[in-house]
Every structure is written in C-alpha cells, then in structure tokens.
C-alpha cells in the first residue's frame, strides 16, 4: 500500500506539485495520465526518493517520507524505501559496460550479497519470463529498444521489489509490443507486485490499470477507478483530456 498525503514539491520558489493525495492498494496498478509538464514524472521521482518532498508525506510499506525529516534521516529512509521500490526508466539506462546478465545480477550480488551463481540462475529465469533468454550474454548496445526495456524490467525485478514504477513504458513500442507488455505487467500483479505507471497511451492503461490519476499543472484533477475516469469523469478538464486523447 502506497499512500500519498498532501504532497507538495517545490523547486526554489516554484511549486511543481500542489497538495496531492491518493493511495495505491497492494497488488493494484495505478495509471498516471496528464499532459507534458503536468508534474507526472516529478511525482514518480518523489515516490522513489530522487526528489525530496517539500510538504506532506509519502508512505510505502512501513516507511514514511516527510518534509520535516533531517537530511540524514531522509536519506536513510530513502535507502530502505528503494529496497521495496523498483524503477523502470523511460530511457532504461542499462549499464553499457555489462552484459545483459551482468546488468541483472549487479545489484543482487553487490547490494544483497547474493551468491553469483544463484543470482545468475535467477537472472536467466527472469530473462525467460520476459522472453529474452537468448540475449543473456549480449551487450545493451546490440539490443533493440523493446529488448532493452525488458532487460530493464528484469533488472528491477531481480531486487524483488514490492512496488514497480514505470515512466512512459510505451513510448518506444509499436502496438503489438504494447499489447504483449501489458500482458506481461498484468501477470506481475498476480505475482504480488504493486505498480505505478505513467503513460500517454490511455488504450494501454485501459486494460491494465485499476485506478487512474489525472494531473494538470501540478494539481491532482481526478483520481478514481479506471472505468470511471475514462467514461464518466467528474471534472470537465479530465473529460477534455480523455476526449482529445481518443
């Protein structure tokens, strides 16, 4: 369960996120939608501790990030938080000097101190589950965008996080690959993961997200079950956005 309460984020004197409150129940998928510059990515970066919150709080598992914590305590809690939260970046950021398997076992071996042989065996299983077992010894530069994304997913999963954050996972995919990614992610829910996904593609989120959150200019405009947000939104701004997206 992730709960965000009255979250504010300021850069200098500019407030980017205003008083955001929502919750993501365990084993559900939250889709975040909104135009460019609406604050979606900043919100996601608050959730994995890359941005420090300026007001309100984020609670994830038993860890709570609050604005008034000392820098040291905040860092300490972010460290614990990240053990539970995995991130798949829009541009993946695979490690180019490591093979596909090397990318996946890096953190389990050096952070969790897993035995290398066991970590590698698990990595191959993860690769199999994302359909990339044959690429195990290749290097990132020789992979297509879609393949790199699946390696990035496997890399995040190797740390066994309860929560997975995705920033624009559909931006580099054609419709067919989008569908297979959706099936894959849906499967993760069954395996116990909670997910937060930023996407421009409402079609992608429609069959995947349990709840949707619509943002505009740093405000949470609408938050509710996917069906309701897409088909009978309360706020006229949401209605406009959904209409234009379709």
């Amino acid at each position: 369960m992730i709960s965000v309460n009255g979250l504010r984020k300021r850069f200098g004197t500019t407030e980017i996120l205003h008083n955001i409150t929502f919750a993501v129940p365990d084993q559900t998928v939250l889709g975040i939608i909104g135009g460019s510059g609406s604050g979606k990515t900043t919100l996601l970066r608050c959730l994995n501790g890359f941005e420090r919150v300026s007001g309100g709080s984020i609670e994830c598992g038993n860890i709570k990030l609050e604005a008034n914590l000392s820098p040291k305590e905040y860092r300490h809690r972010v460290k614990k938080l990240r053990l539970q939260v995995g991130t798949v970046f829009q541009h993946f950021f695979l490690f180019p000097h490591l093979s596909v398997v090397g990318n996946i076992v890096e953190a389990p071996v050096h952070v969790l101190r897993a035995a290398k042989a066991i970590a590698e065996k698990e990595a191959l299983e993860l690769l199999e589950s994302v359909g990339l077992k044959e690429a195990a010894l290749r290097y990132p530069e020789s992979l297509s965008g879609g393949e790199q994304q699946r390696v990035a997913i496997a890399r995040a999963l190797a740390m066994r996080p309860a929560v997975l954050l995705f920033d624009e996972p559909t931006s580099a995919l054609d419709p067919r690959r989008m569908a297979s990614l959706r099936t894959m992610l849906r499967g993760f829910v069954g395996k116990g993961h909670t997910m937060v996904i930023i996407s421009h593609s409402l079609g992608f989120l429609e069959g995947l997200a349990d709840n949707l959150l619509y943002m505009e200019q740093g405000d949470l405009v609408e938050f509710g079950p996917t069906d309701q947000v897409l088909n009978s939104p309360i706020d006229p701004r949401t209605k406009d956005f959904v209409a234009q997206a379709e």
């Binding site: 541009h91 950021f93 180019p96 890096e106």
Partner: protein, 502 residues
C-alpha cells in the same frame, strides 16, 4: 593631422639608416665574445648590484684584450654546452670562458696562447671526515660541471660523477648530501665554496691546466691579433692587476707570466690536458642506462598521476565547495606554471624547509604532481560524460554512491579516458627530458652531454630518437590493443553466444 604620418615615416627612415650605419661600423671594430654567464662567477656573471650588466675577471680581461686590439668588446651570453657550435655558427668571434684546450676540441676549434693557469679543487662538507683527497672518492659521487677539465679528469680516473649546469647547484647538493663532493676549477671554487661555512676544501689544488681563447678554425688573422693582445696585457701588467683584483693571483700565475715577460714561450708540455674519451660502445651503454632512468621516471610519474588524478577529479566534480576550490587551485597551479619551474622549486626550494630528495625522486614526484593535474581533467571530463541516468539507475537498484561509482560509473569513464591517458603518457615520456635541469642522467641529458663532448650531434641524435621511439611505440601499441579489446568485447561476446548455440 596630415603632417603626422609624414613625420613618422621620416623618423622610421632615420632609425633604419642609423641602424644600418652602426651595424656596418660594428663589424669593423667589435670583438664579439661568447661565454655562459649563468653561475659563471668569477669568470663572467650578472652583476648582483646592477642586474643588467655583466662583471667578472674575464669580462675585464676581454675588455683589455679588445682595447689592445683596437676593438670594442661585445659580450654574447651563451650556453656552456653549446659554446663551440655557437662559435662555428658565427654567433660570436671568440670563446673566452675558462676554456681548456683539449685534443677533441682541437678538432673543432683552434686555440690562442694560454692566459691563465688553473688548478682543480675538491670540496666536501665541513663535517665529512671520510674524504681528504680524490682517491677517497672512488665509490662516491662527485658533482662537477659538464664537459670540463674536472669532469674529464673524473671520467679518466673512473670516479662516478654527476654533472651540473652551474657551480651553485653542485655545491648546494654537497651541502644537502645529494653528492659527496664537488670538483671545480679553483676560480669557481674560490668564489662559490671557499667562504661557505658548511664546506671545506679537501686536500690541495692539483692538476695544472691552461685557459685559452677559442677561435674558429681558419680565423688566423684574428688568432694572431688575440695572441699579440694576450702578450700585451701580460707584459704591461693589466692582466696581473685584474687577477689580483679578483683574488686569482697565485704562484702558478707568477711563474707563467714571468716566462712570457722574459720573452720565452711557456712550456706547454708541463701542463696537463684532459681528454674526453669517446667511443660508441660506451656511449650506447650510457644511453641505455639513461633510457632506463627515463622509463623509471615516466612510469613512476604516471603511477602518481593516475592515482592522484582520480581523487582530484572526484573532489573537483562532486566534492563540497571547499574541496572543489582546493582541487581547482591545485589543478590550475600545476597546469598554469611550467613543469621546469616546478622541478627547480622542488629541487632547490624545498631543502630550505628541510625536505631534501635526490634528483631522480624529485623529477619523478614533480612530473607526477604535474601530470596528476592533467589526468584529473581527463578523468573529470570522462566522469561528466557519463549520463546522470546511469547514477539514477544504480541508485534505484539500492546501490550506494560509492558502489555506484566503483561498479557503474568508473568502468565507463575509464573507457572514455583511456585514449587521452595514453596520449598523456607518451608526452610524459618526452617531458622526462626536463629532468636534465636538476642533473638527472636521463636520455636528453645524456644526449646533450655526449654530443657536446664528441661533436656527434647527428648520429647521437638519431640514436637517442631511436631510444625514445623504442620506448613510446610499444606503449602506444599496448594502449591501442587495450582500447580495441574494450571496444570489441561486445562483438566477441555475441560470437561466443553463437558458438554456444551452434
């Protein structure tokens, strides 16, 4: 306003004309003489009280000689090691610099009559009781000037020696125990060492040698004039007065000048002439030893540079602001001042605060500190070229900053930094040549001294270049291999996968 350019033109014309005329007049009545004034007391040196003038007993003597010849003396400051080649190039007409006639020099220049009898004096630390004569120096190192009677004598006697560009450096290194003793011509010893409370003469002066004026071969008219002028200033007592003024008058001069005054020729045979023995086998052996020193300097300095460059780069690009300033000051200081000046400072300056290092170590540390500044910038550029996303990806996997740096950022930065690092290493190889300034026997020093002693500038130059190439080419080759291996690893891995699959 219109008149002004016209005036300027007239002025320029007048200046040009006067320059032309004065040049013409000069060639008639000027005696241009070359000598090395740096550390050149009491021969010829910069007047401490009046730094744009030169003084010295030879300066006064040449003035007297020129006057006797009806000319005007004009001093051409030059470098001791290249005096003979400068004479042959026509930079000046005569060498007057405590110049000793030797058989090898006789092949390149001709000599006037002698004008002074010199001896050699050994100097040691006052508290050093081990050395009382040159015989006690068999297994010690003696400092002296390069390509002089003293250095030739030491070479003949098989005594290890280190050469210096001027007496000050040699005597200072005796004081600092970098060498055990110094052997110099008495005039230099009298000026630089005799009144130094930390030094004492070891034994009596020995080996009577001659100073002569060096001339271009075939310059017979000038030689006749110079010889006549030397006789003239000896007979009329001018030289005696000058030598007395500079405390250089002694029994040997009395005897020598009396012979001249009585109209006899001095018995040249009674004087020692040192000889430089040059053979290719020994030269190549000495060059090889020098090459090894060069390799040691280059590798040692590079290790310091590589190791120290990293914390500098990290401090400068990621540290707190005070650390950034410290690193920036370090980098700008070492990049912004010549490495030669840094070496001289380390070698001659640091002993003042009680930190004395031998020459080779000074060169190694100095070059290392200097190149660390450059390497840090290579690293910094490489570190900053790694996208921010790589850090964030590592952090998102719960990796600590140190772990992220070591496992993710550094290996990628290393690949970017490798080509410029190789480049720096090759240039460091060549920069080791500045170590000659602090008398480290490396390749460039070896070339300079062997070539000056033998006149074999061309052949030795080729040999030395081959030595440098023999060292830098394998380096470049190894670096290329390493770069290629890093680059090709991914493709090779793919092949490996294909082989596995087949």
């Amino acid at each position: 306003m219109k008149r002004f350019p016209c005036l300027v033109r007239q002025l320029v014309a007048a200046i040009l004309l006067s320059l032309l005329l004065s040049n013409n007049a000069n060639s008639q009545s000027v005696l241009r003489w070359g000598a090395d004034p740096s550390g050149g007391a009491p021969y010829v040196f910069t007047d401490p009280a009046n730094p744009d003038q030169y003084i010295g007993y030879e300066k006064e003597m040449v003035d007297a000689l020129a006057q006797a010849m009806g000319r005007k003396a004009e001093f051409v400051p030059s470098d001791w090691e290249t005096l003979m080649s400068a004479l042959q190039r026509g930079s000046f007409d005569v060498i007057v610099n405590g110049f000793e006639p030797t058989t090898d020099r006789a092949q390149q220049v001709s000599f006037s009559k002698p004008y002074y009898i010199f001896q050699l004096q050994l100097t040691v630390r006052r508290d050093d009781t081990r050395i009382n004569s040159l015989a006690d120096c068999k297994n010690r190192v003696v400092g002296t000037l390069g390509n002089t009677a003293a250095s030739r004598y030491l070479q003949q006697e098989g005594i290890p020696f280190r050469t210096y560009a001027d007496p000050i450096g040699a005597y200072q290194d005796v004081e600092l125990k970098r060498v055990d003793a110094a052997l110099m011509d008495v005039p230099a010893e009298a000026f630089y060492a005799r009144n130094n409370p930390k030094l004492r003469p070891a034994g009596e002066p020995f080996l009577n040698g001659l100073y002569v004026v060096g001339l271009r071969k075939g310059d017979d008219t000038l030689k006749a004039q110079v010889d006549a002028a030397i006789d003239h200033i000896i007979v009329d007592g001018t030289l005696e007065r000058i030598l007395k003024k500079w405390n250089l008058w002694n029994n040997a001069q009395v005897e020598f000048q009396n012979t001249i005054r009585s109209g006899n020729k001095p018995e040249i045979a009674g004087y020692v002439m040192t000889n430089s023995t040059f053979n290719w086998r020994e030269a190549l052996w000495r060059l090889t030893r020098a090459a090894l020193v060069t390799v040691l300097l280059a590798f040692g300095a590079m290790i310091i540079a590589v190791v120290l460059g990293m914390p500098l780069a990290v401090g400068q690009s990621m540290g707190p602001s005070w650390l950034r300033s410290v690193c920036t000051i370090y980098v700008e200081f070492f990049r912004g001042t010549p490495v030669l000046v840094q070496l001289l400072f380390l070698y001659f300056g640091l002993p003042a605060i009680g930190l004395t290092m031998p020459g080779w170590l000074t060169a190694l540390v100095g070059l290392g500190l200097n190149y660390a500044a450059y390497e840090s910038q290579v690293y910094r550029a490489a570190l900053e070229a790694i996208p921010r996303g790589q850090w964030e990806a590592a952090y998102s996997l719960s990796m600590s900053p140190v772990l992220s740096f070591r496992r993710i950022i550094l290996p990628q930065a290393f690949r970017i930094a490798l080509p410029p690092m190789t480049n720096d290493f090759v240039s460091l190889f060549k920069d080791t040549s500045v170590a000659f300034a602090i008398s480290v026997w490396e390749l460039a020093t070896a070339y300079r001294e062997l070539a000056n002693a033998s006149g074999q500038f061309l052949l030795l130059g080729v040999a030395v270049s081959l030595f440098y190439l023999a060292m830098s080419l394998p380096m470049a080759h190894v670096a290329r291999l390493l770069e290629r291996r890093l680059r090709e690893r991914s493709t090779r891995q793919e092949e490996a996968v294909e082989v596995l699959a087949a």
